[in-house]
Amino acid sequence: MSQSVKAPKGVRLEHISKIYKDPKTHADFYAVKDCNLDIAPGSFITLLGPSGCGKTTTLRMIAGFESPDEGEIYLADQPINELTPNKRDTAMVFQSYALFPHMNVYDNVAYGLKLRGVPKNVIREKVMNILSLVKLDGMELRMTNQLSGGQQQRVALARALVVEPGVLLFDEPLSNLDAKLRVEMRTEIRRIQQKIGITAIYVTHDQSEAMSLSDQIILMKGGVIAQMGTPEEIYYHPNSEFVADFIGECNFLKGSVISCEDGIAAVNVNGHTVRVSASEGVKAGTEGTIVLRPEAICISDKGDLPCTVELSCFMGSYQNYHVRVGDTLVRIADNCPANKKVFSVGDTAYLSFDPICSHLL
């Protein structure tokens, strides 16, 4: 069963900006500012960020619902700024699914094909194929309000896929589902995208969704791209406190660099020396921030950094600690606490970590 007849298309954004008026102050502000992106055909990329960061605006500009104020958008190297949404080779999966409530599942999925004047028997074949791809066989005649949230989501996906768009757009499609279904559906989306090999642009504010789905994550803040890279790059080598904090839980320790060799820096934190990985060119004597993931820290009776335990809480798969290092609160997730010493509130303990698992900003 080959779904994709057409080749997937690449998307390029060149210096894209969007200006809005603040409804209260009537002042102009950049919702998206000088955004440059080159999305390879067939890749799955995620626009990630807190609400108001410009990710949805960017997606809607690609779909054609909003017009950019600066720059040009290219679809397969063709400028598309002046095309209306119905003339663009994109298909969108909406946050609210946006299924047509007056049509059944079959008619919803067939809608785009009917508009394109596809012969009836071809429509039937394509719709049936796509429905079985999203595992909705036998549901053709259901009205949309007779479907569960997850099923509605699948219909929305099928409706967008069936027209074989050059690019598939997702606008926070899973945010209306419960936690368990969300995990299930994101696996589904990834499976189908891989199977068809379609280009997908996915907007979300959920970092775990972004990490599990994407080839590339584009993290946005205040209309500007904060960092872009593979999930691993962004997780282990964030380029700012914002990125580090947004993508997973994170601790920040201030310190001054003593020396730096072969990508490992010795840093003085509260008079104690710790070793962390750092980029080349970090100079001795500069102040820096160490980024430490809670699960990367080891707490024991011996180590590099002394601390006082302020909270100790059993969470099942890990022991959750809040400890004080100097003035800084550090959160620790200590895995498999059953065979380790468990510290109580008020205890003094020592922290240590592998330089590879930390990162100096």
Binding site: I19, S67, D69, E82, P85, M92, N104, R116, L141, M143
Partner: protein, 583 residues
């Protein structure tokens, strides 16, 4: 920093859509020609005499005793009717929302009473008031033996108008009362307030802007009403009837009528603007959102009995008034000879009855689909699209609501009797059935638009966006997604237009030519001549027609109901599958 580029792109995308542009152009032309232009002509006429631009017409009119008298009369009537309708509406709404009614019949009775005046011709109540309480009234003369009861005049109009307009207040206030969170009143009860104290200290203050809103809506309706003062007013002339007499009476004083019409228009317009842009907002501010849970209904006999008795009495009175109409047509001679005969129906038939029905029904049927479609298109554009003339389209189509029919009628006479701007262009329109159809459309457009707008606001924007995204142009989006989703509003727009058109009189009576016989105009003629039997015969058949149409609509709605529809679709799907396998 400038948004010029995105605006340029948006414009480009906008102009890439010929259907949209076409729809907007047609609407703007239609609204300008048939709402703005006639009103503007009135204003121009009123201020331009033979000696240049001046306000002398206003001065002259103001010095007329008849006008000043009519002006005071209109205001006094409006105030009485406004207060009366709000009080009665509040009573019904309170009983409906707060009091547990044991009998379902009582509830059904209330529903009927609140529906009846909305769907019946505007002067039916006047007619039956005269039958029951007039000089030869069944109640006054036959039952009570009062020989010379005078129902004509202020009290007659006031009673009839209150009974006609209070259902509107009732429906508005019911909606608001349902939105009051019961916890607020329970909190007040809990702190020691009695039921009456709760009502005066919590419910009433919350409802106050809503009451003001309902008051103004009724006030405007009363001021604009033509048929009832005409029929039961006697010597009590209001602005609407005075304007009519100024044109049709011996004087044929058009500039004077125009000046009066402008004053009447200003009056309703100011009230309408206050209502629309101040009170409606205020109402929405104090009562937002939904009640958190169901209200404990009042079971107290001391509350239940007096209130429900009062409501029942009013309801029975209204029903009685309606029952009087068919009997008015069946009794040989009302007041003298109460034998049942069909003479009046036969006479109606002999005196061009068939033509009146044919004309009325035909013209209304032409206006109906046009109005329903236009109002859906307007609401679609207003709610879902962004463009320069949107404000104009929305304002003008809602503005028509504030224009009394009489004013519109005078406007059309001044605007079209000698062609556009007295130039002779489009003069052919005047006196035709087309202009009557246009009046029907303009009179029903605001209601349709309002219901369309509120229906559309409930549809998630992304549903249409997704159709657009799938490749549909805006015409296709409208026909394949928007219209099916607001079909209820569309269908009720059809019925409202039909009912309003076939029962319309105020603007029509000024524009109709002998070529067309319209039912309402005939009823008015016969009632004026004192031939109440034939008037009642007409009214009876008219009521039967309007009810028939409403029943038909309910049938259609049920047919399109999702359950039925699904079964039909399933059958169709099966057929298609079979056909495909054969091929």
């Amino acid at each position: 920093m400038a948004t010029a580029n995105s605006k340029r792109l948006d414009r480009k995308k906008f102009f890439a859509d010929p259907t949209l542009i076409g729809a907007i152009v047609i609407l703007v032309i239609f609204l300008s020609l048939f709402i703005l232009y006639p009103l503007a002509m009135l204003l121009v006429d009123a201020v331009s005499g033979s000696d240049g631009v001046n306000l002398s017409a206003f001065g002259r009119v103001w010095n007329l005793y008849t006008f000043r008298n009519a002006f005071t009369n209109t205001i006094v009537l409006g105030l009485i009717v406004g207060f009366g309708s709000v009080l009665l509406g509040l009573l019904f709404a309170y009983v409906d929302v707060y009091v547990r009614l044991r009998s379902r019949m009582v509830r059904g009775l209330f529903k009927v009473v609140s529906m009846l005046p909305v769907v019946s011709p505007p002067f039916v109540l006047s007619l039956s008031m005269i039958l029951l309480f007039g000089r030869s009234g069944l109640v006054t003369r036959t039952l009570l033996g009062i020989r010379n009861n005078n129902i004509y005049g202020l009290h007659g109009i006031a009673i009839v108008q209150i009974l006609t307009f209070f259902p509107v207040c009732y429906m508005m206030l019911t909606g608001l009362l349902k939105n009051i969170d019961p916890s607020l009143e329970e909190a007040s009860r809990d702190m020691g307030a009695g039921r009456f104290k709760v009502f005066t200290s919590v419910t009433l203050p919350l409802l106050l802007p809503g009451l003001g809103n309902a008051f103004l809506v009724t006030f405007i309706e009363s001021v604009a009403d033509f048929a009832n003062p005409m029929m039961i007013g006697g010597n009590y002339d209001t602005l609407a009837t005075t304007i009519y007499l100024q044109v049709t009476g011996g004087t044929y004083d058009m500039p004077g009528a125009s000046a009066m019409a402008v004053i009447l228009l200003m009056l309703t317009l100011v009230l309408f603007l206050i209502q629309k842009y101040y009170l409606e907002k205020k109402t929405a501010q104090t009562l937002t959102g939904k009640a958190s849970r169901a209200r404990m209904l009042i079971e107290d006999k001391s509350v239940r009995y007096p209130l429900s008795t009062l409501c029942s009495l009013v309801s029975i009175f209204v029903v009685l008034l309606y029952v009087a109409v068919p009997f008015g047509a069946l009794f040989k001679l009302w007041g003298r000879n109460y034998t049942l005969v069909t003479d009046h129906f036969v006479n109606m038939w002999k005196m061009d009855g068939l033509q009146a029905y044919k004309d009325s029904i035909l013209l209304s049927l032409i206006a109906t689909p046009i109005t329903a479609l236009l109002s859906m298109i307007i609401s679609y554009l207003v709610v879902k699209k962004k463009f320069k003339l949107k404000g104009f389209i929305e304002f003008v189509s809602i503005l028509a609501m504030a224009v009394p029919g009489t004013v519109l009628g005078i406007g059309y006479i001044r605007g079209y009797s000698a062609g556009l701007f007295h130039s002779g262009v489009m003069q052919g329109l005047y006196g035709t059935g087309t202009i009557l159809v246009i009046v029907f459309i303009v009179r029903s457009l605001p209601t349709g638009t309002r219901s369309g707008i509120s229906a559309l606001r409930q549809i998630d924007k992304s549903i249409e966006e997704s159709a657009y995204d799938m490749g549909a142009g805006s015409g296709k989006v409208f026909t394949s997604v928007t219209l099916p989703l607001i079909k209820d509003s569309f269908l009720s727009g059809l019925v409202t237009t039909f009912v309003r058109s076939i029962t319309a009189i105020s603007a029509i009576i000024l524009l109709v030519t002998p070529k067309y016989l319209l039912i309402t105009v005939r009823i008015n003629e016969f009632a004026e001549k004192g031939e109440n039997g034939i008037a009642c015969a007409y009214a009876t058949v008219l009521i039967i027609i309007t009810y028939g149409v409403i029943l038909l609509l309910n049938g259609i709605l049920r047919y399109f109901d999702s359950d039925h529809k699904q079964k039909r679709l399933a059958r169709k799907f099966e057929r298609e599958t079979k056909a495909l396998y054969k091929a």
